[in-house]
């Protein structure tokens, strides 16, 4: 059985987590816009009484959380921002500061674990900035001015033992990644 259009739309909207135009949806799913509009009506019906709702505005649609749940969501947002950074958060932040600019690949490689979630949290907490890497391969992270000010330094270079730590990090990233040198990592 062919998957209903409304189901496909639901998946796309969920994945994007942002507004998508009806035109784009029609393009992605290779059907006429009228079909999309029809399916959206269906989807809105399916999603009534659910935690996720369909928000439609002009030609744009997106999924959102039901309004009656905003107190819970607010609580979570607050908690996310005030939570302890924890060991992993501090380590990630330290690498970004001492390296001055670090890509996700470099951070992961130095820490030996994936830093995706932590980087996301540091970003929404305004502790790090990101900019797109040249060639569009990913992002480069650096500490925010607010963060440096909070720690009482005007520049990452004023961090204690800055030169030697930075040099050691660079050295490590330059070392060829053959299996012999890495076996004892875990």
């Amino acid at each position: 059985m062919e998957t209903p259009l409304s189901t496909k739309i639901e998946a796309i909207l969920f994945f994007r987590g942002d507004t998508v135009t009806v035109r784009k949806l029609a393009q992605y799913l290779e059907v006429h816009e009228e079909k999309i509009i029809e399916a959206l009506k269906e989807l809105a019906l399916i999603l009534s009484n659910r935690g996720i709702v369909l928000i439609q505005h002009n030609e744009e649609v997106m999924l959102g959380t039901s309004a009656c749940l905003s107190p819970v969501i607010e609580k979570i947002t607050k908690e996310e921002l005030s939570r302890d950074l924890g060991k992993a958060g501090l380590e990630t932040l330290a690498i970004i500061l001492y390296k001055e600019k670090a890509s996700k690949r470099e951070i992961d490689y130095i820490r030996g674990v994936n830093s995706g979630f932590i980087l996301r949290n540091l970003l929404i907490r305004g502790l790090i900035n990101r900019e797109e890497e040249k060639g569009g391969r990913g992002y480069i992270y650096s500490g925010t001015t607010e963060l440096l000010a909070f720690m009482g330094v005007t520049n990452a270079e004023h961090m204690p033992e800055f030169e030697s730590v930075k040099a050691e990090l660079e050295q490590f990233l330059l070392t060829p990644k053959d299996s012999e040198t890495e076996t004892n990592a875990c």
Binding site: K87, G112, R120, I124, L127, P160, E180
Partner: protein, 257 residues
């Protein structure tokens, strides 16, 4: 050698168990002491050619090689008595191969599924405006401490564990003893090699071998023992030239050179 050795040099194996399994499977055998005895020669000739492996890997190959030698010697000389420990290491190897094969089989399920039909999670919302939310722990000193912790856990050069080093060193002695035992058994039971009677389960393949052929087999087996011994010495020497030398001296184990 006998039974037509397979060319295996070009293949890359994950380790000694992987190599053994593929040797057994190439001969379309099941995992048993009999099949292990039959692939022992292929295994050792492969190990002989792996000088460029990291030291830890070579050690792993040699540990398994020693168990294969036990199996092989028992199959050549059924009257050779094995200690309980030796018998245990043979059974252990068979069990390990069985479970490793199972793991390789189910890993195919993962290969089939991985990346085929993906469940995608939501893309993080780009519209969220960051709210500067520091944490009390964020001081320059805490950052330095974290940084030092990270640097301490950076991967370092591989070092053999004390257990492996000890095992490898006791192996040399084991091979020496095994050589003596095989030679002794050869003298004592020379009639066994006349080739007029076979009868024992593990000599099936060589049932019709002539006396000359049998002696040849035993002689080449002794050469195999010598090969493995050389491998062990090599591992020991390389090991001693490394950091581990200091560690082992404090263990008070004999220092072969």
């Amino acid at each position: 050698m006998n039974e037509g050795a397979f060319t295996i040099k070009t293949e890359v194996f994950e380790g000694p168990l992987d190599l053994l399994l593929s040797l057994i499977e190439k001969r379309k055998l099941f995992i048993s002491d009999i099949s292990l005895a039959r692939v022992a020669d292929d295994y050792i000739s492969y190990v002989k050619n792996i000088g460029q492996f990291p030291i830890g890997m070579t050690a792993n190959f040699i540990l398994i090689a020693s168990t294969l030698l036990l199996i092989k010697s028992k199959s050549l000389l059924p009257n050779l008595s094995l200690t309980e420990e030796e018998q245990g290491s043979i059974e252990d190897l068979e069990q390990r191969l069985t479970i490793y094969k199972r793991v390789q089989d189910v890993s195919k399920h993962i290969a089939e599924k991985f990346g085929t039909e993906i469940i995608f999670s939501k893309i993080p919302n780009k519209r969220v405006t960051p709210v500067f939310s520091p944490d009390e722990d964020m001081t320059t000193l805490a950052m330095l401490e974290s940084m030092k912790r990270v640097m301490e856990s950076l991967p370092k050069k591989e070092v053999l564990s004390k257990t492996v080093v000890k095992k490898i060193m006791s192996l040399e002695e084991m091979i020496d003893k095994l050589t003596d035992r095989v030679q002794l058994s050869l003298k004592m039971n020379f009639s066994d090699f006349a080739g007029t009677h076979g009868g024992t389960k593990s000599s099936g393949a060589r049932h019709s071998a002539t006396r000359e052929e049998r002696v040849l087999i035993i002689v080449s087996f002794l050469a195999m023992l010598e090969l493995v011994k050389q491998g062990i010495i090599e591992v020991n020497q390389n090991t001693f030239s490394d950091d581990i030398a200091m560690e082992t001296q404090t263990l008070g184990v004999p220092h072969y050179q």
